[in-house]
């Protein structure tokens, strides 16, 4: 029932990986991750599920914050990856409204092996390179990004991301090369990547304040 | 002859491959059958399986035939093929006490429980070339086998038995310290070096796995060096066994299923245990015994013995002798890697060379200019020459 039949583990995984790789190499560049009909649990954005299907296998572990059993069944069935707790998981699937302590616990690697820091995929409502329509219920962040992969600066607009999560990310990434690497996936299949090298300046729409992280 | 921009590379390769095939068959002798190689080149195939890290005698024979007898090339083909085959199971741990022994000796004791079984070995054949083999016929083979079987009296055959281990004798008498009793035994995880790059210091499981896959000549040289004095390990053969062991896997319902047998060679080398640095920990004041362990596919005693020597040597990590230097032993004894990199020198390196040439020519220029400046009669000390001059 939850085993995907339409997903092609050879070609869909490759196509989506190439988009992710270019997205990670050019932080803030938005890509659509779609093109195949899948049925992930409702607590997981489709693009996040596609990231899991593309990258996970039996050699890595994941942690999911919402409906952990549903997501664990789904990922285990389709990738043979195994669930683990947040401090040891290689991949964390979180939501934009999650408590930042989940990020606090994620592993950041070691000086000799910094690549063992976790990859964190956060489901948000919307990701855009254009300003998002504002309303009272929206929590819109404007992110100014600089760093490797970005020519001068890149601006993205995010809806549905608790800024406290970005605060936690800042703390995790304060001692480069240790750190975690972020992917934001929205409800309409858009993804952006924020590797630990990206410097993020956050403008809070509601409070009209700027925070420079990292 | 045209410059390399002339598009001839593909044609050259095609001709080269055709030539390889030509050399293999040009004498128009009867094509060798895989079965003949398996039967009559047993030891070459055992070496190929060990260094190829792939137990598949038919494929070993195929590979040996394909590369005109170059055992290392054949092992390379096995490795490359192995990398394409999906992994279905991990076997249960094999206890070699249950081995169907074909050969089993100990140098540590004259008589051992179960007895010394000399088995099939070239050790006591005199290495005198046997010219009778030049005219060996099928009838001669049959005649020999008939005589051989006639010599086996039915009454001498006993039930198949297994043999206890010599090291169990030592253990029972409290003479042996296990590896996990070494001071600082190190990482005891079981890792698979074919699934992740080795990290140093490497767990013992990784070291043994790499030794099991290593090229026989490479580890032989290093084992020999340790015995001769470039190292601390001069062991006694506690037990050397060659025989067949059963392989079992757990099926999806958790039942332990027999899937076949493999031939292995096992060496348990008795050495002295690592001495503790401080009194009161580990071996203390008694020079207990410890085992250097070797195990490889097929019948390859040199390899198993040298594995045992190097297993023990690497447990006493030191950069004083190559055999005790983990990185030295493990990085340089994989035959496929060593053969590839040494031979890669045949690839064109003219761009790299040109870059270096430029440096050398500039250095010569600088020297000339310094000399010219020094020869000036002004008495002013020559300035250090700046680099950006055309």
């Amino acid at each position: 029932m939850i085993r995907e039949t339409a997903y092609n583990t050879v070609f869909d995984a490759q196509t989506h990986f190439r988009l992710l790789m270019d997205s990670m190499a050019r932080p803030g560049k938005i890509y659509m991750l779609n093109g195949v009909a899948i049925n992930p649990p409702r607590s997981l954005n489709r693009a996040s599920a596609l990231i899991g299907l593309a990258l996970l296998n039996a050699d890595v572990t994941f942690f999911a914050s919402r409906s952990p059993d549903d997501i664990a069944d789904y990922l285990r069935t389709n990738t043979a990856s195994r669930p683990a707790d947040a401090p040891t998981a290689d991949f964390l699937f979180l939501s934009g409204i999650d408590d930042p302590t989940l990020i606090d616990r994620a592993q950041t690697g070691s000086l000799s092996y910094p690549e063992t820091g976790a990859s964190v995929i956060i489901d948000v409502t919307a990701v855009s390179d254009q300003p998002l329509p504002a309303n009272d219920l929206a929590q819109i962040l404007t992110l100014h990004l600089t760093g490797p992969g970005i020519k001068t600066t890149q601006t993205v607009f995010i809806n549905g991301l608790n800024p406290a999560l970005l605060d936690s990310v800042r703390k995790k990434n304060a001692e480069y090369p240790l750190g975690i690497d972020l992917i934001l996936a929205d409800a309409d299949d858009r993804v952006i990547c924020l590797p630990r090298t990206t410097k993020i300046a956050v403008h809070h729409h509601q409070s009209n304040k700027w925070d420079t992280l990292l | 002859m045209g410059y390399v921009a002339v598009k001839g590379g593909t044609e050259a390769i095609a001709n080269s491959i055709a030539l390889v095939e030509f050399y293999r068959v040009k004498d128009e002798t009867t094509p060798i059958e895989i079965g003949q190689l398996q039967a009559q080149f047993r030891l070459a195939i055992d070496k190929i399986m060990g260094e190829g890290s792939f137990y598949a005698p038919e494929y070993g024979a195929l590979a040996l035939k394909q590369v005109e007898g170059d055992v290392l090339e054949a092992a390379f083909i096995m490795r490359a093929f192995r990398a394409t085959v999906s992994r279905q199971y991990y076997s249960s741990i094999i206890d070699t006490r249950n081995m169907f022994v074909q050969r089993r000796i100990s140098a540590s004791f004259r008589d051992i429980p179960g007895g010394q079984v000399l088995g099939p070995t070239y050790d006591y054949t005199q290495r005198i070339i046997d010219t009778r083999l030049a005219t060996e016929s099928y009838e001669q083979v049959q005649a020999f086998l008939t005589r051989f079987r006639a010599n086996l009296a039915d009454t001498d055959l006993t039930a198949v038995k297994t043999f206890g281990k010599v090291i169990d004798l030592l253990r029972a008498q409290g003479l042996l310290k296990g590896v996990n009793e070494d001071p600082a035994p190190g990482d005891t995880r079981v890792v698979d070096v074919t699934r992740e790059a080795i990290r140093f210091p490497a767990p013992r499981s990784a070291r043994l796995q790499m030794l099991a896959r290593a090229e026989t000549g490479g580890i032989m040289a290093l084992g020999y060096s340790s015995m001769r004095g470039h190292g601390s390990v001069h062991p006694t053969v506690g037990e050397l066994r060659v025989g067949l062991v059963d392989v079992r896997v757990l099926d999806p319902r958790g039942r332990n299923r027999y899937i076949g047998r493999v031939r292995v060679t096992e060496a348990e080398m008795i050495t002295s245990a690592k001495a503790a640095k401080k009194k009161g920990r580990g071996a203390g004041n008694v020079p207990y015994y410890s085992i250097g362990y070797g195990l490889c596919f097929g019948h390859n005693e040199t390899k198993a013995i040298c594995m045992g020597i190097l297993d023990r040597a690497m447990r006493e990590a030191s950069t004083d002798s190559p055999s005790q230097d983990q990185e030295f032993v493990l990085y340089h004894t994989d035959g496929i890697e060593a053969m590839g990199f040494t031979n890669h020198l045949k690839l064109p390196h003219y761009v790299t060379f040109q870059s270096g040439l430029n440096n050398v020519r500039e250095a010569i220029e600088r020297e000339k200019q310094q000399k010219a400046a020094a020869d000036q009669p002004t008495g002013i000390a020559p300035e250090s020459v700046l680099l950006d001059q055309e």
Partner: protein
Amino acid sequence: MSPFQKFSHQFNFAFIDENTKREIRRKLLKAICIPGYQVPYSSPEMPIARGWGTGGLHVTLAIIGKTDTVKVIDQGSDASVNACNLRDFIQRVTNCATTFDTHAASLIQTRHRIPEEVLTNNQILIFQVPQPEPLRSVERYETKTREMHGEADYAKMWVALYEAYVRFGGIMRGADYPVMVNGRYIMAPSPIPRWDVPNLHQSECLFLFGAGREKRLYAVPPHTDVEPLEFDDVRFSIERFGDIRCSLTGKAGAFMDELYDDMGGVRHVINDSDFLDKLLTDIPRPAQWQNPYLQEKLNQTL
């Protein structure tokens, strides 16, 4: 993936099994997140010998898709025997399009050169790397070099460069000139000539590096600082070819090969075979990289 059959010849798309592809892809993503840092990977055996490009192949085959067009060069040439062998293998296991035209390729696998023609944001350059560890010449042990990178303790390297200067009057590094990436990691750019090194800095394209035998992957994203190691008063420079021009095209401003004929006479020819081919036709000179070292050279000679 088809089930195993004895003596059958079925291989997976792009030869490598899907599990290994996933591992390589995950590691490439991490490599991009930590520019210049060497990520260990499983590096399974390939039908090509170690030291002959297995790392480059691992990267190419792990990322390649049905719509890619692949170019393979060795010492700047598409036609050299090893480039032909690799390109043939890639084509056979993927059925992809191949090309000699630098501009038309989406993936370029290279041994020891960056093409003269500038690469765009739609292109990925994959380097074959013999020795990924830039500190190996000053420290033979991996345990120590890993620590040195971890702590950014690069004193031994700087001392070695300085000692070369004291002895020979120059830094004396040729190909594989050490660089500092993103201000944090010293990296081996693979044995490309110094001519090519400045092209790694703030590029439009993605650079991926595969060292198969040593089992390391690393990356330089676009728009990333890559600075050759130098002193304030002893600077990095690219190779000088002086007044030398290509004997086939009469042009300068590209890396040259030095050729000797049967009489011992010497001539030079542009090394990059596709760039040479293009200069031999009527099309305008292809755009080259915008690095200041090359630009100075071009201003002098064009």
